[in-house]
Symmetry: C2
Subunit: 314 residues, 2 copies
């Protein structure tokens, strides 16, 4: 997937290249639509109205990037054909609430499934792995091109698949390298931890959760067995773009629920004091700081912290 820091120019070139490529590729997809009785814009408007019943013309126009005038005319055509209804909106008489008629909904369903089939045909030659890779790549591209915070409900907590351990290693190594300047030593440490996790995995008492958004890894948390009564949380991380939507809390809660269900009496973890957000998370969950010691690791002077949570209390 990645990378050696390239110049800004190279990225600009890559984006322009992709834009040209995709314009051509989309062009092909678009043209196909002409087997239907709808023009491309009509189909897009129908899609928008079908997906957001009750929207206003303005919302549709800005959602599709269309000129309000053009949209008005397109809507007229759809209304004339009995596919879309304009209804008085509640409160503001300037705007109309738009919705599809029964006929419009049916026409849209036809269009939609045709479009789906077309894309499915495009993807037919790809194997499962390539599909997953494509899904993730598109999610990454969109996230980076669109400066908007993802919604909490887009994240799924799932167990790891093959390759995820390596991907996690890469993600964490890169994250801490750019945020704190840690060196390859940290990547080696993570690689050793995940290798050990795979080798000694006890499915009944250990688990790993991957936070996944549209096929892109957003974070992780591991629970491993230290002894019969003590579990240890490891490799907690969250991509910066996935922070601030309560995902960390959710992951920790999931992890602790599992620890309780396993009958552990205590959960411990080790972290560094520079990871402020994570520390706050542990405190809120009831963890207490047990020990703190200076150490030199990953090319930096750090302060390691041991935290502990008593599960038998409560």
């Amino acid at each position: 997937m990645t990378r050696q820091s390239r110049s800004g120019d190279a990225t600009v070139a890559a984006v322009r290249h992709f834009t040209r490529f995709f314009t051509r590729r989309i062009g092909v997809l678009r043209r196909r639509l002409y087997a239907s009785p709808f023009s491309l814009v009509e189909a897009r408007v129908l899609y928008e109205v079908a997906h957001h019943p009750g929207t206003s013309a303005g919302a549709v126009a800005s959602g599709l990037g269309l000129d309000p005038g053009q949209l008005s005319r397109t809507l007229n055509a759809l209304v004339r054909r009995g596919l879309v209804r304009r209804r008085k909106a509640t409160g503001d008489a300037r705007r109309h609430a738009l919705e599809t008629t029964a006929r419009g909904a049916k026409a849209f369903a036809g269009l939609d499934s045709a479009s789906r089939a077309e894309v499915a045909a495009l993807l037919a030659p790809l194997g499962a792995h390539d599909r997953d890779a494509l899904t993730g790549a598109l999610a990454t591209a969109e996230r980076l091109l669109e400066p908007a915070r993802p919604a909490a409900d887009e994240f799924v907590l799932r167990s790891p698949a093959i390759g995820d351990m390596g991907a996690l290693t890469a993600a964490q190594a890169r994250l801490y390298a750019r945020e704190y300047g840690w060196n390859g030593e940290f990547e080696a440490l993570v690689a050793e931890i995940v290798a050990k996790f795979i080798r000694d995995f006890d499915p009944a008492r250990e688990r790993c959760w991957i936070a996944d958004r549209r096929g892109e890894i957003a974070g992780s948390i591991f629970l491993v067995k230290e002894s019969d009564k003590v579990a240890k949380i490891r490799l907690v991380y969250l991509e910066p773009w996935a922070r601030g939507v309560g995902l960390g809390r959710r992951m920790l809660a999931e992890c602790l629920a599992f620890a309780r269900a396993c009958g552990y009496a205590k959960v411990v973890l080790w972290t560094n004091d520079c990871l402020v957000d994570a520390r706050r998370l542990y405190e809120k969950a009831g963890f207490v700081l047990v020990e703190s010691e200076r150490h030199r690791s990953f090319g930096k002077d750090l302060v390691g912290q041991s935290w502990s949570l008593d599960l038998s209390a409560r």
Copy 2:
């Protein structure tokens, strides 16, 4: 980045979602062009002619996905304005060779740099890491959407950056899982090997090459020290889409040249007999099979092979 096998439907939905997103995003970029005296199609045609001097109308039309008629008129407009020249092509009098005039080249340069600046502005909020991630993601997406074999000269051999070891681990684990059904044990092994490589790295006598195509990892090869006189090749792999363009040979050659320069007398490697392509590569480079033994690893019954190359001979 990644993934847990999702249904075909989910990928279709992801592609459709991205198409809508990108259509809107491109729309914004396109409109900006209108500050110039060129229409969008004129600009695109000018771009194509400037980049491929001497092309024919047909080539431009199919390259941009334009109707030949539309293109003909657009060319007329550009010729009328003195920006493009039609010249008799050598051999075939039906087609004209197209090229920009001096004025056309100048106009194009202005457009081009404006477009570059615009994309650069779009990317301005991104840090180096995000830029690299975007570059790689776009390369992945394009590769998967366009069924065309990459050209040999697009691949660069470079040394690893932070995160590459984890990414390699993921890539190899996934590759061998889908091609040969190997399980997580293999991923653990790779993670251990890369961890050890980082920890014990001897820059004078060891090296790792990453094959990189447009920010996407396409393969790897490692040379590590076994003893003063013996080096070992490890973790050789090549993505299926990067095969068949002589890249494997190039990587092995690079690696062996380095081994020679280091003064090693012998290079050894261990592989499995099911990796047929790799074996052929080693044979061609002069390696001889030293030993072969059955073993059970990665959830499969395999035949391991030790190969050796004497560097002192020759």
